[in-house]
Symmetry: C2
Subunit: 337 residues, 2 copies
C-alpha cells in the first residue's frame, strides 16, 4: 500500500475541488479504508485545516475511515508572498505534506497549488539529490509514438549547461521508471543542424556530447519544438524551465485550439473535447519534481477533480516504481564536470 499526502489548500478551486477529487477516488474504490478497495489501494492523507476537511468530506459522503486528516491551517497559494509564508510559518500545508514524506509517514505528496511554493517546500523539507543543483519539473507528454518526458517544465527558469545536464540524467531515470527501455535524450533547440540555437544550447550540446558517451545514457542530439508531440527523435526532451513552461502551455493552448477548429469542421464538438479531457487526466496532468529526496507531484493550479485524481495516482505510481533511488543512481553515473 502506498501512502500519499494531498494538499487540501492547493489549486484555484481549493479546498472544494480537492475535496471533490477525494470523493471521486473514494467512490471508485481506489482508496484504502473504503468498503471495497481495489487491488493496490492508496492510503490518502489529507493535509489541511482539520475542521474544514472533515466538513467538506462529510458533505461529499466520504467516510472518515477512508482518509486520514493531518491538520495544517495555512495555504501557500492563497498568500501574496508564498515563499516568505513558507519561511515564517510551520503550519503551511505544502511544508507539512513534504514533512510527512521526509519523516517516513507518507511515500509521496501532491499539491496543485503555487509551483514556486511547492518546489521550495520540497527542497526545504526533503533536500536535494546529490549532484542536482536545482530540482526540475518533468511532464509526460503522450506523444504520437509514446510517452515523452519534457524536463524542465517550469521549476528553474534560468539554467546553465551543467544544470541542463542534470535535468537530462534525472529525466532519463524518470523515463526508464515509466517503462521506456532505452530513452534517447534530445536537447530542445531551433534548427537541427549543429551550431544552431542560442548560446546556452550550443554550450549544452558540447557538454552532453562529451559527458554522456560511455555512461549508458544515450544522447540523441538536437530536437525541435514539434518533436515533443511526435516523439520520433527522443523520449526525454531537455530544456530550461522558461522555455519548457512556455512550450508546454503553448501545446495545451494548441490542443484546445484544435478541439475548437476541428470540432467545428466535423460539426460535433464532443469527440474533440473528449480527446482534450482524456489527455488532461493522463500522466500529462502532473509535473513530477525530479531531484528532491521524496516523490513530489505538482499539478496545474486550475486542475479539475479528475486532474487532481490523476496527480495522486501518478504520485503513488512513482513511489511504487522507486523513482527517487533511480534518479539518485542516474545522477551518480556521470560525475560533475
Amino acid at each position: 500500500m502506498t501512502t500519499v499526502a494531498l494538499d487540501l489548500l492547493g489549486g484555484d478551486g481549493a479546498p472544494g475541488v480537492v475535496a471533490d477529487a477525494i470523493a471521486r477516488m473514494a467512490e471508485s474504490g481506489e482508496l484504502a479504508g473504503t468498503a471495497d478497495p481495489s487491488g493496490d489501494p492508496i492510503d490518502l492523507i489529507v493535509v489541511g485545516p482539520a475542521a474544514t476537511a472533515s466538513t467538506l468530506l462529510a458533505d461529499r459522503g466520504v467516510s472518515q475511515v477512508s482518509v486520514r486528516i493531518v491538520d495544517a491551517g495555512r495555504g501557500a497559494s492563497m498568500s501574496a508572498h508564498p515563499l516568505s509564508t513558507l519561511r515564517d510559518h510551520d503550519d503551511v500545508t505544502v511544508s507539512v505534506a513534504a514533512g510527512l514524506v521526509a519523516g517516513g509517514l507518507a511515500d509521496a505528496w501532491v499539491s496543485v497549488g503555487h509551483t514556486g511554493a511547492a518546489v521550495a517546500a520540497a527542497v526545504l523539507g526533503l533536500g536535494r539529490v546529490p549532484g542536482m543543483s536545482r530540482p526540475a519539473l518533468a511532464v509526460v507528454v503522450p506523444a504520437l509514438s509514446g510517452p515523452v518526458v519534457l524536463v524542465d517544465a517550469g521549476a528553474a527558469p534560468d539554467a546553465t549547461p551543467d544544470i541542463l545536464r542534470q535535468f537530462a540524467l534525472a529525466g532519463w531515470a524518470y523515463a526508464r521508471a515509466l517503462g521506456v527501455e532505452d530513452p534517447g535524450i534530445g536537447l530542445l533547440t531551433i534548427g537541427s543542424e549543429a551550431g544552431k540555437g542560442d548560446r546556452l544550447r550550443r554550450s549544452t550540446h558540447d557538454l552532453l556530447s562529451e559527458s554522456l558517451p560511455g555512461s549508458g545514457v544515450r544522447y540523441a542530439g538536437a530536437v525541435e519544438g514539434h518533436d515533443v508531440a511526435t516523439g520520433d527523435r527522443a523520449q526525454v526532451i531537455v530544456t530550461d524551465g522558461f522555455t519548457g513552461n512556455v512550450l508546454l502551455k503553448g501545446i495545451e493552448g494548441a490542443v484546445r485550439w484544435s478541439a475548437h477548429r476541428m470540432g467545428a469542421a466535423y460539426g460535433d464538438m464532443e469527440p474533440a473535447r473528449g480527446v482534450v479531457r482524456q489527455t488532461a487526466t493522463s500522466e500529462f496532468a502532473g509535473g513530477m519534481l525530479l531531484g528532491v529526496n521524496g516523490v513530489t507531484v505538482v499539478g496545474h493550479g486550475a486542475g479539475t477533480p479528475d486532474e487532481i485524481c490523476a496527480c495522486v495516482r501518478l504520485a503513488a505510481r512513482a513511489s511504487r516504481m522507486e523513482l527517487v533511488p533511480s534518479v539518485q543512481a542516474a545522477l551518480a553515473k556521470v560525475s560533475r564536470s
Copy 2:
C-alpha cells in the same frame, strides 16, 4: 500592381516545389501577364538559374509572358555554409532577390530557404530600419479570437530587453497594418504574476512598463504560452527568437498531434487534416521579417506549393499595406532608452 521576387532555389523541394507554386498561381489568374488576371495581380519575378527556370516553367505550362526570370545561379540553402556563400559570391539567389527590392525593381521578396541566409541577405541588401538592432521574424497565428502576431519566431535567438522592446514596436506596426485596431502587446513569460519569469523577462517587463505609456502603443502585460492560440489577452506576443521558434514549432506539432488523435476519435481523418492544411496556407505560412528596409517573407523550408503561394500573397499584401514605413514610424515613436 505589386512586384514580388521569388527565390527559385529556396526550400527543401526546390526548385521543383517552387515551380509548382508558380504554376498554381499562373493557373489561378493571380499573376500579371496571364491571359485573364484577377483584380490585383502580382507581377512575379523568378530568381534562379535562367535555363533551369525556363525548363521547369515550360514543363508546367507556364507561359513566358506571365513571369519574368532574373538569372542567379547559386542557392544559399544548398550550401554547407550559407553565410560565407553569401559573402563570397554575388550570384546567390537570396542576395539577388533582396537586391531587386533595394534597387526598386521589386516591391517585396520571398524565400522558403535557410532562414539565417535570408535574414543575412535582407540585412546586407536592404539595411536595417533606424532604431532596430536586429530584424525579427513575425508570424501571424490564426488564434481563436483573431490574428496574433508572434515576434520573434527565430531570427534573433539571443535577445536583450531593448531588443524585445524593438520587436514589440515592430510587431505592433505589423498588427496594425493587418487591420487590428488597437493591438495589445503581451510579453511572453511563465506565470502571469509580476516578478515571475526569467531574468530577461523581468527586466523587459520593467522596460515596457516604463517606455510604452504615452506612445500610443498599449502594453497588455505578461501572457503565457496558451495565449498564443487563444489570442484573448494580447494581439502581439513578444519573445526572443529561441523561445518563439520552439513555441511555434511546438504549436505546429500539437496541431498535427490533434489532427491524428481527434481524427481517430471521429473515425474519419479528412476533416481534421483539412484544418491543418488550411492553417498552413493562411497567413500562418510565412514569417515576415520586420526591421529591414524592404518587404521580406521567409517561409518554411519544408513548404508545400500551396504554402509557397501563401508566402507570395503575404509579401504582396504587406507591400500594398505599406508595412515598411509603418514599422519605421513605430520605431520612431519611442526613443531609445
